[in-house]
Symmetry: C2
Amino acid sequence: MTRHDQFFSRAAEQMKESAIRRMGSVMAGSRDIVSFAPGYPAPETFPWTDFRDIAADLLGGKDPGVLQYGPTRGYRPLLDAIGGIMAHRGIACATEELLVTTGSQQGLDLVARVLLNPGDVILVELPSYTGALTAFRNVQARIVGVPQEGDGVDLAALDATYERLHREGQRIKLLYVVPNFQNPTGLLIGLPKRQRLLEWAGRRDVLLVEDDPYRELYFEDSATETDVRPIKADDRDGRVIYLSSFSKTLSPGFRVAWVAAPAPIAAKLEIAKQSEDLLTGSLDQRVVYEACRRGVLDRQLPLLRRHYQHKRTVMEQALTRALGDTVSWPPPKGGFFLWLTLPPAIDADAMIPRAIEHGVIYVAGEAFFVDRQEGNTMRLSFSAPTPERIEEGVSRLGAALRAEMSASVQMKAPRASRS
Amino acid sequence: MTRHDQFFSRAAEQMKESAIRRMGSVMAGSRDIVSFAPGYPAPETFPWTDFRDIAADLLGGKDPGVLQYGPTRGYRPLLDAIGGIMAHRGIACATEELLVTTGSQQGLDLVARVLLNPGDVILVELPSYTGALTAFRNVQARIVGVPQEGDGVDLAALDATYERLHREGQRIKLLYVVPNFQNPTGLLIGLPKRQRLLEWAGRRDVLLVEDDPYRELYFEDSATETDVRPIKADDRDGRVIYLSSFSKTLSPGFRVAWVAAPAPIAAKLEIAKQSEDLLTGSLDQRVVYEACRRGVLDRQLPLLRRHYQHKRTVMEQALTRALGDTVSWPPPKGGFFLWLTLPPAIDADAMIPRAIEHGVIYVAGEAFFVDRQEGNTMRLSFSAPTPERIEEGVSRLGAALRAEMSASVQMKAPRASRS
């Protein structure tokens, strides 16, 4: 037989399976498990009937382009609709600055390929989105984390990190941030800090990668549209590459998202996309466009805000009931995620088998770290399960955690008596 | 303003726009042009009504998975259906050897990323598919061409190229071939040569990348199913990575294709795909699966063979009428393409403005070469235009070529008189 490992590229040798995707495999093999692991939107919120009507109209066969190859940049009417969405967010965008991508994941991957050489530094918030970390790792970039405060990335630590790396002779090219309801922490970068981040990037000649899939999902009991103003909206200098998506507002099954970048970068991203998949699905792009044109998206947004806000409330109340003072979390003001800190003695990754035993699953925090780890953290997604399942799952999580804590005490007790 | 070019990766600096995609932009700006440029399938052959019925059933909302995230490997029933298609082609495939990709273009890109380091050599047929060349170039591989004979790649030249590069200390990892109705030449690798290619790859410890999007489209007046037997069907040694697609048989708008590779390679391709787009479109995968399950695909294939065979015949007859002895081509026995050789004095790329003037367009041959060029060649796609438009386009091409030839004689005449 052929020895295959000798053929792998250096990039492939370093590739690691996503922890979140791995959880998907665990799920597939199990029976009654409440999953707080993947950040799936709630399928009961999808506008099924609208999609069915739109698909029927599109597949009437009158426009051959619906099922044909098309331009790599994207379906032109959809690009125009995205331009309108961007304008509503305060960002003026020319068409040559926009590119439709096959999910925001592709946008991240293209940004990595076009801007990062092996060894180039990209700074990320700690913790940060695993899918982005994977994309940066796959081009063999050096990923360096910067801690976060309550209002987002710690600016003093950011600049100190920059200075240290710069002194070491490293090339620091990018800073990756998720300013709105960050994956995994749910944190929101404060408005003054957004302004200062942009100034910092200009001063240090670093590009900002602003990943913004959750911005429409602010919870009206604790945030407003003003709070989610993109950094890109104040970018007069071509400093920000902005990514957003229809996956959380219409459906992830269509794989339609976009990047807005300075025109020379957008042109390179387009060429890189030619090689990755030629174009994003034609039918998918047109369904999404029609959902914009017919007002489906606009009707969805207030419903989604209420839907996920309610689930967030249910999860917070259940956590308080089940785990009271033993855990803590920053209150999510939007998005899909709640970031739980457990007692210091507990390792969330080691606890997974016990959690599965109790019929609940999550993503252990360490998946979201790079050069530093917090073993006693986990990401809980409240987006997909029903309120009843959230309550059930949190109650199971409470039982699992109490069992883990008493096992941890028993483990330590004999050791203590021996010393 | 930010200076963006200083941020580009080495890969991005080398990225070039696809010549075929560029032709698409030319088309978009023009009125009455017959396009022989892109290898688009004929939309009038798409089973629109079946797709509309299938989409309506899927979007009934009974299965949330239709619009949800799903496994990176692909929708499991679709993977099983692909296993059945592979078995019909003589290839026994376990599920862990299969991966659904977002078009075969993604398969090529993933293969490049997982197997090629910058500087590694990949051998290709000359001429070869530009989309593949782009994928290999984007990982900064060294692409080296090997000439073709009437029955495919020249084995003596192949081994001589291997030996020369090996002596130079190069690492030769892959050989990329399109054995069935190659893009751009339409050539078919003969059965004895397929066997010898596989032996050669084993002897030289090179992996074969077999790209097979056109195999179902053999023309029954000149080829049979026996002629298109995949090399992979005789691969006992895990030597072949096989790619195929539904783009040419159902529709390219769905972006659903697949790779079959030895399990350790398939596992790495899956991880690379996690970073590129997480998953291929959920609705797209299910529509394609249903088209397999309901027999739509099986019903399409004989219709498509006849459809494209007829267009091929129309194009060959029109070429004979319009250009007679001034051009030549290998008769296509399947697929979408005819490879035209012009008189040696004519440069097909330089002739493009004149062709557009005459209302016809093609892809100049040089797009398909790497280290050697044949300026007097062009690729004509007969797949998309109607028979009437094919006749009209060839007649325009004849006029453009005659004009170019007489201009070329006039250019030379004064120069000759001066010498």
